[in-house]
């Protein structure tokens, strides 16, 4: 059994960004949505339509496979671990994730990798996100 992030109730999202703020705050000590490893997207002209993109902790991550320098290695339990010193800032990891879950820091030119910690879910007021146990058997 492993624990990874899931969007469990997408339609309950109210678009408050508490999740993204919690992620950026926890890992980068900033009051911002900008360095969050997950994203709540708004759609133009569709009132109240939100799509949540979060790393779901693949066991064989496409992002890691796309990385030419092994800057992303497979994390035990799913997802990836980022090795900053190996990153060549090529953006291939972001492009490889069909979910668009891999976020990008445009200033450092590095991926923002989800730690599967669940802090975003802790701050979600409506139970949209959850760190859930996955049985791969």
């Amino acid at each position: 059994m492993r624990k990874v992030m899931r969007v469990v109730n997408r339609a309950q999202c109210i678009g408050c960004y508490s999740c993204m703020l919690a992620c950026s705050r926890t890992y980068f000590h900033i009051a911002s949505t900008k360095l969050s490893a997950m994203r709540v997207k708004n759609y133009a002209g569709v009132e109240g339509a939100f799509s949540i993109r979060i790393c779901t902790g693949c066991l064989q991550p496409d992002c890691a496979a796309a990385c030419p320098t092994d800057a992303l290695t497979i994390r035990e339990g799913g997802g990836v671990i980022f090795h900053e010193e190996k990153c060549v800032h090529c953006y291939k990891c972001v492009e490889a994730c069909t979910l668009n879950a891999m976020q990008w820091d445009p200033i450092a030119k590095e991926p923002l990798v989800c730690h599967q910690c669940g802090i975003c879910a802790e701050y979600c007021p409506n139970g949209v996100l959850a760190l859930v146990e996955v049985d791969d058997e």
Binding site: A11, C16, Y17, L21, F28, A31, T33, G48, Y123, P125
Partner: protein, 583 residues
Amino acid sequence: MNRILRIDLTNKKSEVYEDNKLYDEFIGGTGTATKLLFDMNIKNVDPLSPESPIILSIGPLNGFFPIATKTIAMFKSPLTGNLGESHAGGRLFLSMFDAGLSAIVITGKAKQPSFIVINDENVEFYRANSIWGQSALAAERILHSSVKCVGKRSIIRIGPAGENGSLMANASVDIGRHFGRLGLGAVMGSKNLKAIVVSGSKRNKIADFGKFNKVYNKIFQAAVKSPAMKKYHDLGTPQNVIPLNKINSLPTRNFSQGFFENADELSGENMSKNYLAQQIACANCPVGCIHLGVLREPFQDNIHYKSFKIPYDYEPIYAMGTNLSINSPEALLKLLYVVERAGWDVMETGVTLGWATEAFERGLIGTKETEGLVLNFGDSETYGQVLEKMLENKSEFYRDLNMGSAYCAEKYGGIEFAINFGKNGSPGYITGRDAFLGFLMGVRHSHLDSAGYSLDEKIIKGDMQEDPSAEIDLMIKEEEWRFILNSLTVCLFARKIYTEEVVIDALDAVGIKKTPDELKNIARKIHALKYKIKVDNGFNLDNLSFPNKLFEVQTGRGKMNREVVNNMIRDYTTKMKDLIKEV
């Protein structure tokens, strides 16, 4: 922070400067915006001239703490001629915060329909001929997909009402939020400014993470768990409909009575159960009080259906619903949709239609003016036609309706039943004299200025004794505390969470030290400056009264005693005259 962006639309120029002294002295939000407006000396400025400023202002807690979600707009009101101030939620505060801007000051007039895009301190000026005439809703859709932004964007725009110079035009902000009151939309329209798009790329550092987190979590937990926010989270502001109706305080048929026989239909309970599509939130607010109703309408032989999402709140339900005796939520949502697209202040619109209906009943206007339409309370179809004609803005009478209730009553008669205070259409409370006194004496003629209605409710419940002098003092005290909340700038729905202690702790967590006494003094200074602006710009303290009709109405506290009310107005006025001397 403490950076101010000045934009000159005439010369397409902008500059950024820092003013730490201003922010030290007036905190931010409404405080700093008031001082900026005061220093611009708008006394002889026509509100719809190029010189007339638009100030957008946030405070030191915006971006940092939950429910510090408001942005203050300050301007010279074309509706009242004096202080124009309106507050909006949405994402605007976040975009300004990300852009590193505490205030944006816009003056001048674009040569042709335009919109501006603010990315950090960079301002770009674009032609807007192709979107001039688009509804406030369409403009948002278009700009959201066509403008490049460096971060989460906020879109402030006007609809045709603002373009037409309607004095009750608002400016819509993101989804379902507005700078609703006092005519900002007309000011934008007069500048040929269709929209303002803001975004930023800055990453604001948290200085003391441990201290910050403690305060953040305290506020966040209170927001999601405490009963203080439950009402807004559950049914939203329409939760008020039934309780107000029970105490005869729900304005019905142009304030003829406080009991609406179909209140159950328009209640928060019924709206939630049968019409609520979903709730959404302002950025960094876990409460999510924005209620989007859904209206389904058949077309093509009733086989096909189309759906609209329409935001609703208590005040729109009162203004376009109970006040016009609209019985069904469908009919109400349909009217609200027209108002939303046009970009009118829904409250002034409802009050103006209330006046028009009564003026029609009494024969002050007739079918000649209305071009054949017969105005009756409860006739939503005709009200829909009236709104369409107001939107066309072609004939004299419908152009006049666009000027609001005070203008119409002045021209056609019926001042006694044009329910506005200081020329601003009334909020939806007939609780008693304190509600009305607050609307009259509050700096922006809003129920949120001093919350007199809440004193009325306490007195009705027996939690407080009647005492005219104490009532006035409590209202002034409340209004001045709210100047602090509006300077931070937190949503007033969170006022029970943002106690004085929490405010001081939150300020401290972002490196600002203030004592309770310092806050009181700042609030007092803000009050004095605002009143000075009002009086300098024509708010006449010697000529204040309630609309006469209200003395005939059974309020929640019973019929008002005219002599007592007049004495209260006189005493309040005296205090405000003394206040101005402090400037």
